[in-house]
């Protein structure tokens, strides 16, 4: 009885082994004749034709960027005096009364360089390479709690105020699309493009 069971078991195991090797053989054969097929050969059309043509107004409404050469600056103007008033009203609560680092904990960073400050904060005066960036950033992102709420003239005025506070333009200056790109920022000469391209050098 016992031997019989063992025998049957052995036969079962043996046929199992044969079956597995047969399967393995079949598997190999399959692999030889069927390789993974990749590559949809359908040719792409010249254009898919998805999407639609926006109107000129739709583009202008979103096209808010300003480049260093002045491309994108809107019509209008602003002056230091008006900018000071606007700054006090809309910016001082987060950036401090004069934009200078005082040591007080404020939600916004210092905007005006102050050589006396021990922390040597990076500011528009000592770190910003382009005056156009200031116009662009304030128009798109500030005041932090009400972004996009300033008129173009207001942004020109605030830009004038902050540049004057950083001793870059005179108190009587009136800023517009023509003269803003011409302002040379003190930090411009410090900036260099990253020229690393990989490779062993630590730079």
């Amino acid at each position: 009885m016992l031997t019989k069971i063992i025998k049957t078991k052995l036969t079962a195991i043996f046929s199992g082994v044969i079956l597995i090797s047969l399967l393995a053989f079949k598997d190999r054969a399959l692999h030889q004749s069927f390789q993974i097929q990749a590559g949809d050969t359908t040719k792409w059309p010249a254009r898919f034709g998805f999407g639609y043509t926006p109107t000129a107004q739709e583009i202008t409404a979103w096209d808010i960027d300003v480049r260093p050469d002045g491309k994108g600056l809107p019509k209008g103007q602003g002056d230091v005096e008006k900018g000071k008033g606007l700054y006090t009203l809309k910016c001082a609560s987060c950036h401090g009364a004069n934009g200078v680092e005082t040591g007080a904990k404020l939600p916004g960073p210092a905007l005006v360089g102050d050589t006396a400050a021990k922390s040597k904060p990076k500011t528009i005066g000592n770190y910003w390479p382009y005056a156009t960036t200031l116009f662009d950033y304030v128009r798109r992102a500030m005041p932090y709690n009400q972004p996009g709420s300033l008129t173009d003239n207001e942004v020109y005025s605030i830009t004038a105020y902050l540049l004057n506070a950083n001793k870059i333009i005179k108190a009587g200056a009136v800023l517009n699309a023509q003269n803003l790109p011409k302002i040379i920022m003190p930090a411009k000469k410090l900036f260099i493009m990253d020229d690393r391209k990989g490779g062993p050098e630590v730079k």
Binding site: F48, D63, D65, T133
Partner: protein, 414 residues
């Protein structure tokens, strides 16, 4: 009822009350949640005997959305402006989407995909606006790559976890359309050298990107790890620039303008630039090769004997080719095993077996990428760039101190 009302403490960082666990089971037994519900006795045998033994009581039935085991609690570490991936809790290289790091400059916008559109204009043959449905009709592509914030470096005290040191990196499988497919559709003027990518968050985040990246491997993605991308990662679409600093991978993307010049936005001048000697370096796009041991690390403890050292390594410039591990404070280095398949611009898992004799030491890892770049030490970075450094594009070798009692601490270097 042996001790079902007691607090049950398990050996995980979180305490889970036994009642909470049993609650789930009892609910499963009472509610008709699975096919066998009709046959399940609805008295409460669960409370009267089998205790913790899972083979003595059927568990809860299927559910619409899965949950982590109540014994596991990996969490991001949020601050006011970012949230870090718990790298020390990860066993592989795909970050669960809800643990992907976050960094944004004016919060996460709520965007209705039915109203979201993407405008491509500027130096193109024809400006086009795409709806989400339009974008999803294009031939799609899937790839795995890491993202890393350019400001992903912390030091200063010994009690720092991998999450604290460099938790602003994560990895996902992304799906979307190649940017080149979209540019082919609008046609691009040969004068175009850069493009501006702009988001629809409250800071209207904008960055300039060289056009070569669009022809290389840039994508507009809408899916992350097989499902729609998370809001924190840019729902409904973001730009994906494999290997480039996180900030440039504009989230909540709404506009791309082709241009012959960069725009010099605030994020590429006042921010994401850093002192190199007496100059300020800008337009560092690629994230340099980097690695970190995630096990053992603070606050784990180790025991004398066999330890599998584990970690991740990556490079924004392509594939990594080797990771070396030192268990003797950097005096000698051994190769780690790299988990294949090694992907370009992707976190790669590494492992190295170590028989710790119980003596205090330091363990370190360093990676080499396919350009031949070897991850530098902090000292080498300081020599190359000066002491001011700033916080951007820092990728120094990270060391962990192993104390004689098995405590693991971050090695603060200066």
């Amino acid at each position: 009822m042996k001790k079902s009302d007691e607090k049950h403490t398990v050996s995980t960082p979180t305490k889970i009350s036994r009642r909470a666990l049993l609650g789930g089971m009892v609910a499963a037994a009472i509610l008709p949640v699975n096919t066998f519900a009709g046959y399940v006795q609805t008295s409460t045998p669960a409370l009267s005997g089998p205790g913790d033994d899972p083979i003595k009581i059927p568990g809860p039935g299927p559910s619409p959305v899965g949950k982590r085991s109540p014994f596991e609690n990996p969490v991001r570490k949020p601050s006011d402006i970012s949230s870090r991936t718990p790298l020390q809790d990860m066993y592989g290289t795909i970050t669960p989407a809800d643990l992907h790091y976050e960094r944004h400059h004016a919060g996460v916008p709520v965007i209705d995909p039915a109203k979201h559109e993407l405008l491509i204009h500027g130096l193109v043959e024809r400006p086009i606006k795409f709806t989400m449905a339009d974008l999803k009709r294009f031939p799609s592509v899937t790839r795995i790559c890491f993202l890393e914030c350019a400001g992903n470096f912390r030091t200063g005290k010994e009690e720092l976890t991998p999450q604290d040191v460099l938790g602003l990196t994560s990895q996902s499988e992304w799906t979307g359309v190649m940017l080149s497919t979209i540019f082919r559709e609008t046609g691009i003027s040969p004068k175009a050298k850069w493009f501006l990518a702009e988001g629809s968050d409250a800071t209207v985040m904008a960055r300039s990107i060289p056009i070569a990246k669009a022809w290389d491997d840039a994508m507009i993605v809408y899916a992350q790890n097989g499902e729609a991308m998370r809001p924190e990662q840019g729902y409904p679409i973001r730009l994906l620039l494999p290997g480039f600093e996180g900030n440039m991978n504009i989230k909540w993307l709404r506009r791309i303008e082709l241009s012959d010049e960069p725009y010099m936005t605030r994020e590429e001048t006042s921010k994401y630039t850093y002192p190199v000697k007496d100059k300020i370096r800008m337009f560092s796009f690629e994230m340099d090769a980097r690695s970190i041991i995630t096990y053992p690390s603070y606050p784990q403890k180790v025991e004398r004997g066999w330890i599998e050292i584990r970690g991740i390594a990556w490079s924004g410039r392509g594939k990594i080719v080797k990771v070396e591990v030192s268990t003797d404070v950097g005096k000698s280095w051994q190769f780690a095993n790299l988990q294949g398949t090694i992907l370009s611009k992707a976190h790669t898992y590494f492992r190295h077996l170590w028989n710790w004799n119980g003596e205090a030491t330091e363990i370190l890892s360093r990676v080499t990428d396919e350009t031949g770049y070897l991850q530098p030490t902090l000292k080498q970075l300081i020599e190359a760039r000066g002491t001011a450094l700033g916080g951007y594009h820092m990728n120094p070798v990270t060391a962990w101190q192993i104390k004689g009692n098995g405590t693991v601490l971050f090695k603060v270097e200066s």
